[in-house]
């Protein structure tokens, strides 16, 4: 019996901002690469759900009995975020243990370690770890340009070699109390100490310490075919670290700091998913994460790797579009908020939101047991044969539907997201789902095009984010 990674998933938002656009907005020049930007209808919860969906290609949702959500940018400061993610992932409430792991950019691998420990201890069989991040740097700062939004997820399980993508053979951590990077409660932007102090006494020292621990535990640098090393997108600093610790540069697996940005708590897992999406059986992978200390994991790629599904990260990278405006980015992040739109017609209801979560969060409709007609949302009385309370629920989450009809609305949107597509999607059982479309190229929106469902923020009624599913042109790699 081995312990390790059974499934992987990742998510990169549709939008990215060229770093040159940011420097240009401030009257500077230069800025290489891009930062990934969560859409105005996305946050760390929605992206964590997207990444988790990748894992469900090879792990049954009903088998998951633990869920750890890792982030430093949770939409809720109080109220468990993982509970909502679990429901949106359509996991079983009476089975799953859920927890948020926060406050550190090491939260992703902290959650990984908790998941491994719970599986080893036998308290969980399939533990889902999903990490997502939407960090803000001060406008005009290097961090603003350097941070990027992304999500990654893994399922940790016990199993035979054929059941696992990789076993985790070793893990170690060191702790360090230091104010190199921090954000006070109620603040929006990450602060930092003098950079040389951050580099020397923080990152280089702590990563050096954890690597030393690895090498003192019977491994040598040559053992590793792939090394995942979190970094802040500073090539000089990274080079210094590699040289100092005798790690060959070509072994480094990208964590996408140049194209996505430093994705904080999601970065290490994003790198790990990238490594596993490109690994060969038998390879050893070293994973190193940093943030108030450091953690290291040694993995061995298992025979189960031959059954892995199609790589997601490369596909998500290849299907992005630039955000045309730094100003819209600032408004989306609440930094320079554009004029609010007109008010909503309906009143919020906490009770209704709670009562209808099977519809809104799980995306369940009903299929009539008598006549087979499918309806969305869940309907107690069948619209076709009139039967009452004779239905089974179905989930439309994994459907590839057809766009039945749509309109492109240039009036209803709020001022920083002016174009809304109202849309009706038809799914395979014939149900029609009325929602909005997101992440579209307006010229390419056509009746009958393929669409998939994506979990998004809908509104803030009731003074909390309300989530439901939108449709978008097919982008998720489901094979």
């Amino acid at each position: 019996m081995k312990y390790g990674i059974k499934s992987t998933g990742a998510y990169l938002p549709y939008r990215y901002l060229p770093k040159a656009d940011i420097s240009k907005a401030w009257g500077g020049k230069g800025g290489k690469g891009e930062k990934s930007v969560a859409d105005v209808d996305e946050d760390s919860i929605t992206m964590a759900v997207e990444a988790a969906l990748g894992c469900f290609r090879t792990t049954k949702r009903s088998d998951v009995d633990a869920l750890y959500f890792a982030t430093t940018t949770a939409p809720y400061a109080e109220k468990q975020n993982a509970a909502l993610i679990s429901v949106a992932c359509d996991l079983l409430d009476d089975k799953v243990f859920t927890a948020d792991v926060t406050s550190s950019t090491r939260a992703g691998t902290n959650a990984l370690r908790l998941a491994l420990d719970s599986v080893k201890a036998g308290s969980a069989e399939k533990a889902l770890v999903t990490a997502a991040e939407t960090r803000n740097g001060f406008p005009k700062s290097a961090q603003e340009a350097g941070f990027g939004d992304a999500a990654a997820a893994v399922v940790v399980a016990a199993g035979e070699a054929e059941d696992l993508l990789a076993s985790v053979d070793f893990q170690a951590s060191v702790n360090e109390e230091i104010n190199d990077y921090w954000r006070n409660a109620d603040e929006k932007f990450v602060r930092h100490a003098e950079k040389r102090f951050c580099d020397e006494e923080g990152y280089l020292l702590q990563v050096g310490l954890i690597l030393k621990k690895v090498l003192q535990s019977g491994y040598c640098a040559e053992d590793f075919a792939k090394v995942v090393l979190v970094n802040q997108g500073n090539p000089k600093l990274l080079k210094k670290l590699l040289v100092k610790n005798g790690i060959a540069e070509e072994k480094l697996v990208s964590t996408f700091t140049d194209t996505v940005g430093d994705s904080g708590a999601a970065q290490a897992l994003l790198g790990l998913v990238n490594a596993l999406e490109n690994a060969e059986e038998g390879e050893k992978i070293l994973l190193v994460d940093y943030g108030n200390g450091a953690s290291a994991f040694v993995l061995t790629v298992q025979p189960g790797i031959k059954d892995r599904p199609v790589a997601q990260i490369a596909h998500y990278l290849a299907t992005r579009a630039p955000l045309d405006s730094y100003a819209r980015f600032l408004s989306w992040r609440g930094i320079a908020t554009a004029e609010p739109g007109t008010p909503y017609k309906v009143q919020p209801s906490w009770a209704q939101t709670w009562r209808e979560q099977r519809i809104n969060l799980r995306l369940h409709g009903s299929v009539c047991k008598k006549c087979g007609s499918a309806l969305f949302p869940i309907n107690r009385v069948c619209d076709c044969c009139g039967s009452k309370d004779e239905y089974e629920e179905f989930s439309a989450q994994e459907e590839i539907g057809k766009l039945y009809t749509f309109s492109i609305d240039e009036f209803a949107g709020q001022s920083d997201d002016p174009v809304i597509i109202q849309a009706v999607a038809e799914v395979s059982n014939g149900a029609h789902i009325y929602t909005l479309m997101t992440d579209f190229v307006r010229e390419e929106v056509k009746v009958d095009m393929d669409v998939e469902f994506t979990f998004r923020r809908f509104n803030e009624l009731g003074n909390f984010p309300n989530y439901f599913w939108k449709i978008r042109p097919v982008r998720r790699e489901v094979r």
Binding site: K345, N360, Y404, S407, F411, G430, A431, I433, Y434
Partner: protein, 401 residues
């Protein structure tokens, strides 16, 4: 049709003896009560009655503060002590008030019933009607009425093989027609005539609907006094007889209906028409109806109604539009006062305003002789409301039989 109407011949049993309608528009200077007073007193004077002659009143309104019941009417007109109730049925509220007044008289409950619709949309503090479709607090999104009705266009084009440009151009002709008609109506909100170039160059609201495909949000009120046909001639020589009425309601979200609903035709419209036509004995609406006021909240809605109300064959509304069939000089003039598009759309008042136009046309007493239609005997007014799902209509005639 309900058994009640099958067994009871409503046709020609009831008549409208007085009507009133305010100037529609951005009436910043008047309140809801002023609008109610102006519409009601015009109707009282037209009918030759006093406010105290009214025995029951039905108030149509969608945007007054909640829980006001019929009190905006009793407060304004001082007709307290009688049943005065309010209905909210989106854009059909005015027709529902008319139908309720008809049923009250027809049942023998009273002899003189009043229907009044009034709306003060411009007191809301913002343009438009607010966002969201009132579906659910979670699934509510920044979407609005133009985008909801615009869903018809893509589906219609797909079903009947029309290109986007063909649909857009046909809809523009509806806009041009209604604005020309409205330019002749003193009480209309807008008086600007449109050219094809203006319509095509106007800002897009929700594809394919541009600015001029969408009606304005207006303030206004309209009122009707209804009595038994046998009493009507005591009040005036030219009462207008009620030939029939109809109403049908779909689900809150027809969007979710999986079968027999393809966004080009609406069950509520079809069944509303069927009920009224059966009551009025109309078998060939295209020939038998002389003029119609239909729900052109958006141009595409008017086009859909042409087919669901049997004015055009399925898939041929665009042909009739291009032939000018619905122009004031055409075979069936539609929205000769400018429609919601140009006359304005104070939601609760609209059904009664449309009926006011039919009433005046059938009496040959429209406010501007230039726009009086000749030789008209049967007219239809019709509204369609919600996201959308409720339809209502009324058919009137200026002679019995």
């Amino acid at each position: 049709m309900a058994e009640y109407f099958k067994n009871k011949n409503i046709k020609d049993e009831l008549a409208i003896i007085g009507m009133g309608c305010t100037k529609f528009g951005e009436r910043w200077d008047v309140g809801l009560s002023d609008l109610i007073i102006d519409a009601a007193f015009e109707a009282f004077e037209d009918a030759g009655i006093k406010p105290s002659d009214v025995e029951v009143c039905y108030f149509a309104n969608t945007n007054a503060p909640n829980n006001c019941s019929g009190t905006p009417v009793t407060d304004a007109l001082k007709i307290h002590g009688i049943p005065v109730t309010r209905n909210e049925n989106w854009c059909t509220s005015g027709h529902i008030a008319l139908i309720n007044a008809c049923l009250a008289v027809s049942s023998g409950m009273c002899d003189i019933a009043m229907a009044i619709g009034a709306e003060k949309l411009k007191d809301k503090g913002y343009a438009g009607m607010g966002v969201g479709r009132g579906l659910d607090p979670v699934r509510e999104a920044r979407r609005d009425a133009p985008g909801s009705f615009a869903l018809i266009a893509e589906a219609y084009g797909k079903k009947y093989g029309y290109s986007y440009d063909e649909i857009k151009t046909a809809l523009a002709k509806i806009d041009i027609k209604n604005h020309y008609n409205g330019s002749l109506s003193p009480k209309a909100h807008f008086h600007n005539k449109l050219t094809m170039e203006q319509v095509m160059a106007a800002p897009m609201i929700a594809s394919p609907l541009g600015l001029y495909d969408c009606c304005g949000t207006s303030d206004g009120a309209a009122c009707a006094i209804i009595t038994r046909a046998d009493l009507a001639e005591k009040f005036r020589k030219d009462p207008i007889y009620i030939k029939g009425f109809g109403c049908a309601t779909d689900m809150i979200t027809p969007h979710y209906r999986p079968r027999d609903f393809d966004w080009t035709s609406f069950e509520a419209l079809r069944n509303c028409a069927k009920m009224a036509y059966e009551m009025a004995g109309i078998t060939d609406p295209r020939e038998q109806i002389d003029l119609a006021e239909v729900h052109d909240c958006f141009s595409v809605t008017e086009m859909t109604i042409y087919e669901d109300f049997g004015f055009s064959k399925r898939g041929e509304a665009i042909k009739d539009i291009n032939d000018g069939f619905f122009e004031r000089t055409g075979g069936l003039p539609v929205n000769v006062d400018g429609g919601l598009k140009c006359f304005g759309h104070p939601v609760g008042a609209s059904g009664i305003r449309m009926t006011y136009e039919i009433y005046k046309q059938l009496q040959h007493k429209v406010d501007n002789p230039e726009r009086q239609l000749e030789d008209v005997h049967i007219g239809l007014s019709q509204t369609f409301g919600g996201p959308p799902q409720i339809a209502a209509c009324m058919i009137l005639g200026n002679e019995k039989g």
